[in-house]
Amino acid sequence: MDNTEFWIYLLLMAGSTYLVRVIPFVLVKKKIENRFIKSFLTYIPYAVLAAMTIPSALFATRYVWSAAIGLLVALILGLKGKSLTVVAVAACAAVFLAELIPMAF
């Protein structure tokens, strides 16, 4: 990819990402009273994260089963209320260790 192409793409990617974030942030100044919209806004972050995680996470590592083990570890630690960092690092460690197992045979 030549440099010009890179900068055009960067402008499109960074610019559109910025505007998607900032336009509603600047425009919405009033309190939203509608109960449905309020509820929708409460649930949207979790819906997004859940849809992004499953099933995509299962194909993120070298094997589906090692990803599944990593996710399980994340789920258990998450339920125990561990911090984002601890859960993320533990999930990676679990994948790493799990992928060592087949090599032992």
């Binding site: 055009i8 793409y9 942030f25 929708f40 997004v48 994260l49 995680t53 995509s56 590592t61």
Partner: protein, 228 residues
């Protein structure tokens, strides 16, 4: 402790989490043919996970400008909902100019942490953004420079970091709220449908995620309206 410092502190775990995720991004960018500085510039100016991972794939093929805009818009439309949600909690001094400047830093995790505040002040939000931005940038730089020396196993393990972080954001809320459990289950079911069912699986990844999320949150809002 003043608000800026409080925000700064709250941002540190996000920053650390971002190190590992952006490290993976740096590795991927360089291994697909970007130079290290391009990877770093992308992270500094875009500050998003899914969008960047998808973006560098699009960038490899010249001239796909419309494709880039559409995929970025659909992957990132969730930020609009987060912005609206956050706008409801901003302190009165958080005026237009600060919104233009600080709105750049709305990410899934920064949003999730800021949402736990009763009122979000400018200084708190500004402090909160510092560690994640530096973490994201430094992680990308390290991944881009060191990625090639890392064995395949380590890279495989690091790829799960971002998802581990997502799970860590969702699960505590699932414990507190049954409606969120239902919303999550619907979102996961739809997202699986968009991955495996012929016809549905032809829908591009980013758009599919937005459809799943909007449907799940919409059903949740209809079934379980939040208390006034």
């Amino acid at each position: 402790m003043n608000n800026f410092k409080r925000g700064l502190k709250a941002g540190i775990p996000i920053g650390l989490g971002y190190l590992s995720v952006s490290f993976t991004f740096g590795i991927m960018a360089v291994s697909t043919g970007f130079s290290w500085w391009q990877a770093v510039v992308i992270s500094m100016t875009t500050l998003t996970s899914a969008g960047q991972f998808s973006g560098i794939k699009t960038m490899l093929i010249p001239g796909q400008y419309a494709e880039m805009l559409i995929s970025q818009f659909t992957i990132n439309i969730r930020y609009s909902f987060m912005s609206i949600s956050l706008s409801q909690k901003l302190a009165p001094q958080f005026k237009s100019l600060s919104r233009w400047l600080l709105g750049f830093f709305i990410t899934d995790e920064i949003f999730a942490v800021a949402s736990t505040e009763k009122e979000v002040t400018r200084s708190y939000f500004g402090g909160l953004a510092v560690a994640p931005w530096f973490g994201w940038t430094l992680g990308t730089l390290s991944g881009a420079l060191l990625g090639e020396v890392l064995p395949e196993q380590v890279m495989s393990a690091l790829s799960l970091a971002i998802y581990g972080m997502f799970v860590a954001i969702i699960t505590p809320e699932m414990k507190k709220s049954r409606p969120i459990v239902v919303v999550v289950i619907i979102a996961v079911a739809l997202s699986c449908a968009f991955t495996y069912i012929p016809g549905l699986k032809e829908v591009s990844g980013g758009l599919a995620i937005s459809i799943c999320a909007i449907a799940a949150a919409g059903i949740g809002a209809a079934l379980f309206p939040v208390k006034e």
